[in-house]
Symmetry: C2
Subunit: 117 residues, 2 copies
DNA sequence: GAATCATATGCCGATATCGGCATGCGTCAA
DNA sequence: TTGACGCATGCCGATATCGGCATATGATTC
């Protein structure tokens, strides 16, 4: 009989994946371009195995993609998995209220940025 | 000497607060109106102490507010603390791309809803 | 095939939760 | 004051991580 779970089996859940501060930095870094594991580890000050483990979690929840390039494996952001989080938080936008118009402005900015490309 | 921390002291961090599936349900419920602890526990199928603990975490990261009303303590959503998460995820919006127009539509919907009230 | 480089996995100790239970504390009514 | 009610806290066992280290797996070159 099982009593008391430390954390309701959260791995492979996006919300949990980004709960880790160190892990959260990785997608940000990759936004600047795809990188091999070693480089991620170096730039974020973690060990190679550490980076590999975090990248595995991020891949499982759809936050990074990887492609093989010779001996290396290049990781790139795949923020599709982040949409649910963005939408969930957005569902509370009405409670920020004072800054609501800024959200609209922010989206308009984003739209403009995209259309200019 | 300290080696190996289970989770880099994340409590009192919004990202961690919403990483817990059960805890994440509470702000959603409170969106329907302020409620006392017992009611939260009842509607979400948790014990009263369980609800109290989750509410404490949520309060510490600014996701719920509370006011005393007689013997009761009423909790209400205070999504201000959710803005950083929304903005952080929004920083990756350019990587969703295909669904970008839907985000715009979603915001417009929100705007309309608000203006109608 | 052997050596080498890049990355992933496995094992470990330390630790931060989570849920259940009992109990403490604060408030209101009689 | 005493009792009843609502809620918060403390203690506990079970467990899911996290980081460090050593090592296995993969791929390339000689």
């Amino acid at each position: 009989m099982i009593l008391g779970m430390a954390r309701a089996a959260t791995t492979s859940d996006v919300f949990n994946a980004i709960a880790e501060p160190q892990r959260r930095q990785i997608p940000v870094l990759l936004r600047g371009g795809e990188r091999p594991v070693t480089e991620v580890a170096g730039e974020l000050g973690m060990t190679q195995p550490g980076a590999s483990k975090h990248l595995r979690v991020l891949r499982e929840v759809g936050l990074v993609q990887d492609r093989r390039a010779g001996k290396q494996r290049l990781y790139a952001p795949d923020a599709a998995g982040l949409r649910p989080v963005h939408e969930w938080t957005g569902g509370f936008a009405e409670f920020w209220n004072e800054s609501f118009d800024r959200l609209e402005a922010y989206v308009q900015d984003l739209k403009q940025t995209r259309d200019e490309e």
